[in-house]
């Protein structure tokens, strides 16, 4: 990905020094903007939102330290790294610069390489900080959603267990059977949420090990379908899977299983009673496409955008939240991207959805068809 040139605002009343600094930085590919005093700098910084500010300390009017203090108190500008340009070398002056929120200082007259080194260092630090803040936000959101989604099936589980515990002898066999069925479904929901959470956290902290192995697609899909027979039966949903020949791909088996399980589970969740889920795969144009199609409730156009975004899912939490929705898909997309595979879908409100997972064929295995 090509990143845009970084914007640097130079605030300096001395023209020679300003031109020199601009020239050095421009030659290194930065976009340079200039302010000649503190007042101008405050306006420019807010308008421009530069990636970094080089700020002279001694200027007519507001001093550099004052400018820095004001910028650090404004929400929009508080995170912009500010490096002071200073002729002052007294210990107290340097410390004051840090106290008002500066990240570094460069003593004038400065050396070109020192200037570039310090600017690049702080741009890199800012980038890392932004990334950490963003990851932290995503993590908080994820946990918040997980906590919410776990509570519902757990609530059902403990509530039913409580009735059975306290009133077992008063319950009929039919009631007990029904309760056990509900408890089974709820506990399965809890388990798959926890599995998703662990896999996601391993993938986030980088301990998810990708182990390529030969995956017999037909065999694995059949196994996954079997594990959902009971919940499909509860809604009288038919799962059709007619591929007669197996196909082998080389990829991570855990990820494959998790993705297929999430997609089948979603299909069942969002398909009405007596519905139909059709699963198929085929090989074409160097890819293996696995389709999981349902005739369920589908998605509104406005919701399609949100499906793979953690942030937007969070925003709609509690209003259109069908238990567990979205999390699995976000995880599927992330895990598939780690093994070079893709997920896409088409969907129509009240008609149904079709999710497609595309794996690249491995050259040594691509034509290997195993007769069952």
């Amino acid at each position: 990905m090509i990143s845009r040139p970084k914007k640097i605002l130079i605030v300096e009343d001395d023209e020679v020094s300003r031109l020199l600094t601009s020239r050095i930085l421009e030659a290194s590919g930065f976009n340079i903007y200039n302010s000649f005093n503190g007042d101008e700098a405050l306006v420019e910084a807010e308008k421009l939102l530069p990636d970094l500010i080089l700020l002279d300390v001694s200027m007519p009017g507001i001093s550099g330290f004052e400018v820095c203090k004001i910028l650090k108190n404004k929400k929009e500008t508080k995170d912009i790294p500010i490096i002071f340009l200073t002729g002052k070398t007294e210990y107290q002056d340097l410390v004051e610069g840090f106290l008002v929120g500066g990240v570094d200082y460069i003593k004038k007259p400065f050396n070109k390489f020192e200037l570039l080194a310090r600017v690049n260092t702080h741009l890199e630090l800012k980038k890392s900080k932004d990334k950490i803040v963003e990851q932290n936000k995503i993590k908080d959101k994820f946990f918040s959603i997980i906590a919410h989604d776990l509570k519902s099936p757990l609530s059902s589980l403990t509530s039913l267990a409580e009735i059975m515990n306290e009133e077992f002898s008063d319950l009929s066999n039919d009631e007990i059977k029904k309760f056990i069925g509900l408890i089974y479904n709820s506990s399965r929901n809890v388990l798959s949420l926890i599995e998703n959470l662990f896999t996601w956290s391993r993938s986030q902290i980088g301990t998810l090990e990708i182990v390529n192995e030969e995956i017999e697609i037909r065999h694995e899909i059949k196994r996954s379908i079997e594990s959902f027979r009971s919940s499909a039966r509860d809604k009288n949903i038919e799962i059709v899977f007619n591929n007669e020949h197996d196909l082998v791909i080389l990829s991570d088996g855990k990820i494959f299983k998790l993705v297929i399980a999430n997609l089948i589970s979603n299909g069942i969740k969002f398909t009405n009673k007596d519905g139909l889920i059709e699963i198929s795969f085929h090989q074409a144009n160097g890819k293996v496409d696995i389709n999981i199609k349902d005739n369920g409730i589908g998605f509104e156009n406005e919701d399609k955008e949100k499906l793979f975004k953690l942030e937007s899912h969070f925003n709609t939490r509690g209003t259109n939240d069908e238990k567990g929705t979205g999390l699995g898909l976000i995880l599927c997309k992330e895990l598939l991207s780690k093994v070079g595979a893709q997920i896409s879908f088409i969907s129509e409100k009240d008609k149904g959805s079709c999710f497609t997972v595309s794996y690249l064929c491995n050259s040594n295995l691509s034509n290997e068809l195993v007769n069952q």
């Binding site: 059902s156 009735i163 509690g318 209003t319 069908e322």
Partner: protein, 132 residues
């Protein structure tokens, strides 16, 4: 006899609430699995109090609450929200929409009964509870 409408998409939760309010208040109950069906049941059964889940398919609790509050006949009917979300801002919004109280999931019997009882006392519906 007190009549309570339970709206929750989770069958286990409906069974549970039905069980404890019947025992706790000798109440009559009616149920629905989503807000849309819940509104229909409400108009037909005319409950004294409504227990309303927030996260539901088809029509969620917020939209349902809005519809209840816009209905002349039921805009004073006490609504207690059932939610797994303990976010204070979200709860404040619900309280501002005129709910009587909220109960956090996972549900605890004593707390559910206590909260419903308080709302019944506040709204003078407690007289409908037959002692048993």
């Amino acid at each position: 006899m007190l009549k309570i409408l339970i709206i929750d998409d989770d069958e286990g939760i409906r069974i549970y609430l039905n069980n404890i309010v019947k025992k706790g208040f000798a109440a009559e109950t009616c149920q629905a699995e989503n807000g849309l069906k819940g509104l229909g049941v409400m108009r037909h059964e005319k409950p004294d109090i409504i227990l309303l889940d927030i996260s539901m398919p088809v029509m969620d609790g917020l939209k349902t609450l809005f519809a209840i509050r816009s209905d002349k006949e039921f805009n004073k009917t006490p609504v207690i929200i059932l939610t797994a979300n303990s976010d204070k801002e979200d709860i404040a919004k619900l309280l501002a929409m005129g709910i009587s109280d909220y109960i956090l999931k996972p549900l605890v019997k004593e707390s559910v009964l206590e909260r419903i009882k308080k709302v019944l006392e506040k709204t003078n519906l407690i007289s409908k509870v037959e002692s048993n």
